[in-house]
Symmetry: C2
Subunit: 213 residues, 2 copies
């Protein structure tokens, strides 16, 4: 398997964690998001959405991080990343999608660039935007974890799931932008628990071969 | 089953289509998004994420539209909304998530309100923002449909899937904001095909009991 990745892509980070949790070796191909390499014609032939990550599984090209993780779970069922029961699966998907649909899309690179170029926002204003959506999102995520009877050592139960694959990159982003995370004790306890696992630790941006200072 | 819905919520619209396609009757409970009823404490006990929709399936509370559709497909497998093969399932999920993670989050109500209140954008500027992300997103969606060998009468094959449940509400939004859709012929052909089906037609905002002019 080959993963098209960029060290700072949160979506690629999710899939790196999933591959590590499942013990699946992969080759990495690096696409430099900040240099716009994802918009090059060559990459467009691989991923029409012009986004990271793409997983090439023996010629099958898979896109969108959560779709890739579901595919991995269906085709390599060992170390499952979704529970067996339908309500549990729904909860893990909901937590995952909360991060992927409600927090992350507002803060990704192309949105920040658009705020700068089209809305003439300065760095301070862009940081305020970033922190606003992190705070709004993590408060709701925390409420969901605190309220949900399924929350365990991880987001759902005592084994890592797709929801943890989504949460951890989001917390890395929050920390990178110096967001206050003290108000989210359940979330941060789960995050700390995840980071004790090698699968999460090895997937982090600074440990990727294409990492920059 | 009870669906917490709002006529203009795209995410609720997705689930209304899915319930109709599966022929599942449901009771609707209306939560007025524009009046902020989703942020009331009572609804917070039902949906900690303070978002629509929520599906109450005999006391099991399910959140996030795509997680709900997956749950319905797992618990009511007739009229499947995902293909049987793993790569096909991955493609349908990827197209669904492209809408749910890349287009819709940038244009939902709370983002438009934030642009107005915190960034002092006027109506014209907000419309420009809206159309920018619709155009950016639909161009990539079109490329994906045009490039994907799985595209049929619907987004994937000749039967409706979760991807169509996501696409149709997004096109309704595009039309509501007078976005030009002529550049997306494959997408619009699929949309037209969907709208010939009663399941899609009955789910549209203007046909809901809580619809406003």
């Amino acid at each position: 398997m080959k993963l098209y990745s960029y060290f700072r892509s949160s979506a690629a980070f999710r899939v790196r964690i999933a591959l590590n949790l499942k013990g699946l070796p992969y080759e990495a191909a690096f696409v430099h998001l900040a240099k716009g390499e994802h918009r090059a014609a060559g990459y467009g032939a691989i991923n029409a959405q012009a986004l990271l990550p793409t997983l090439d599984d023996d010629g099958k090209l898979l896109t969108q991080s959560l779709a890739i993780i579901e595919y991995l779970d269906e085709t390599r069922p060992e170390a499952p990343l979704l529970p067996r029961d339908a309500p549990g699966r729904a909860r893990v998907r909901s937590l995952s999608m909360f991060v992927a649909c409600e927090i992350h899309p507002l803060n990704n690179l192309r949105v920040l660039q658009h705020l700068k170029r089209a809305l003439a926002q300065n760095d301070e204003q862009i940081n305020a935007w970033y922190r606003h959506w992190i705070a709004d999102g993590l408060a709701k995520f925390e409420a969901d974890l605190a309220q949900g009877p399924g929350t365990g050592k991880f987001c759902h139960g005592d084994a890592p799931t797709m929801a943890d694959c989504c949460l951890v990159p989001q917390i890395f982003n929050a920390q990178r932008y110096q967001c206050d995370t003290a108000s989210y004790p359940v979330t941060m306890r789960v995050f700390a628990h995840c980071m004790q696992l090698d699968a999460f630790d090895r997937a982090q941006p600074s440990k990727q071969p294409d990492a920059e200072k």
